[in-house]
Symmetry: C2
Subunit: 221 residues, 2 copies
DNA sequence: GAGTACGAAATCGTATACGAAGTAATATGG
DNA sequence: CCATATTACTTCGTATACGATTTCGTACTC
């Protein structure tokens, strides 16, 4: 473990529990309870929660306390839209740095995803999906953009574990879009084209969700 | 003032001092000193600083303390590039909601900027520039994206007050690009076109800076 | 004279304690 | 029986205190 700082430790622990679904959206984060649970004082816990607030993982209200944010479909929509933008940019910026070996790895992951569609394993599918995109991001030379992408993923993770958003036909399309994206990168396509493709990939998932849930529409392009 | 929470008060105060340049980049933020200065205890100050860290305005190191981040040209570059992306998106998403009255206000501001070029008033020019873009952003329906834009502006503000980055010819071009952008919006151009224009507007400023400073190039498109 | 070891000062990190604000339960009057 | 006021409880907000870590200055040795 060797975190050193207890504040850091609290931050990591609470974040992990939000992302893995132990604390689902709406869960009330009581300082004293978490402090006792982690064997530390309330001060580091409080600090950790304020940091998580800045990342958008929890909502904090004065004299009321913190709750795990999420649930709200509108919030999901905002997050997905933002992610489509920063993810698209991150992918485009990474593209020139992606070599054949990375492409091969990504393609292997994508084939595993295709496999998952046979046995209907949405959990593994989701994990592989993250792996796939991680391969395409990780080389992004701009750490700020990469950070924004990670924050978006964390937000989605906290939502996913509670209300599992899964749109039937979408998974198949997704795998095909991945392959198309890989070919673009392989072919050395321009940054603009790659960005557009990556952005539409996520926007399509959002659109599918909106169509299914009949939620209020929003211009996702 | 009626801030209510002292933590909030400390947050606002320190943030303001960073943005207005009282605490310039590299400034060492000593908890006890700030606490005494604000007439509060160190705990709220500490919390405030951790929040500012999450926004990227300060850098925090364990057992060492916080310093106002900035200065580094690389950081400037990352911030501008990120801003070009989120700003472009925010402008495009706002565009359909911008009415003739907003256009008129923005145009008036832009003409004031043109005026500033005559008497060479870079400080006012910068302020008006922020006003101009604010008019185009404020209506962005996605609060997350809007928040990212604001964070970027804050980062730039902290840089600007110390090392004033001003590229000679750039200001004139900038005003012209503003006018072009307004015409696009007026004409009801597509979101894609508006986004590209807004993005290039900022990217051009970055490119001008890079060309002047002979810093290592980066693919800004 | 340069480098290292030691010690003192400064600063951060966390715990504990108490006061403030909000919430829920209960009692009381209509 | 319902509405409202009061009380008790929960939880947050901040101050103070002390231990841990780093940094800087000084003395000592080679």
């Amino acid at each position: 473990m060797a975190t050193g700082s207890k504040s850091e430790q609290a931050y990591a622990a609470v974040k992990a529990r939000i992302v893995d679904g132990t604390y689902s959206p709406g869960y009330r984060l009581v300082l004293a309870a978490i402090a006792k649970d982690l064997g530390v004082s309330v001060v580091p816990v409080r600090e950790a929660i304020r940091r998580l607030e800045a990342e958008g993982l929890v909502t904090f209200e004065r004299n009321i306390g913190a709750t795990v944010s999420g649930i709200d479909p509108t919030e999901y929509l905002y997050t997905m839209q933002t992610l489509s933008i920063v993810e698209g940019a991150a992918t485009a910026l990474s593209a020139p740095l992606i070599g054949p070996a990375d492409i091969a790895r990504a393609r292997a992951v994508n084939e595993d995803m295709r496999e998952c569609l046979q046995h209907f394993d949405p959990v593994r599918f989701t994990a592989l999906n993250q792996d796939f995109h991680s391969i395409l991001f990780e080389q992004c030379p701009n750490p700020h953009i990469l950070d924004l992408v990670h924050r978006g993923w964390n937000r989605l993770a906290s939502l996913r574990s509670s209300t599992f958003r899964f749109v039937p036909g979408r998974a198949h399309e997704s795998v095909d879009e991945h392959e198309a994206l890989l070919r673009l990168i392989e072919a050395g396509a321009g940054a603009e084209e790659i960005e557009k493709s990556a952005r539409r990939h996520r926007a399509a998932t959002l659109d599918a969700y909106l169509a299914q849930s009949n939620a209020g529409s929003l211009n996702t392009r």
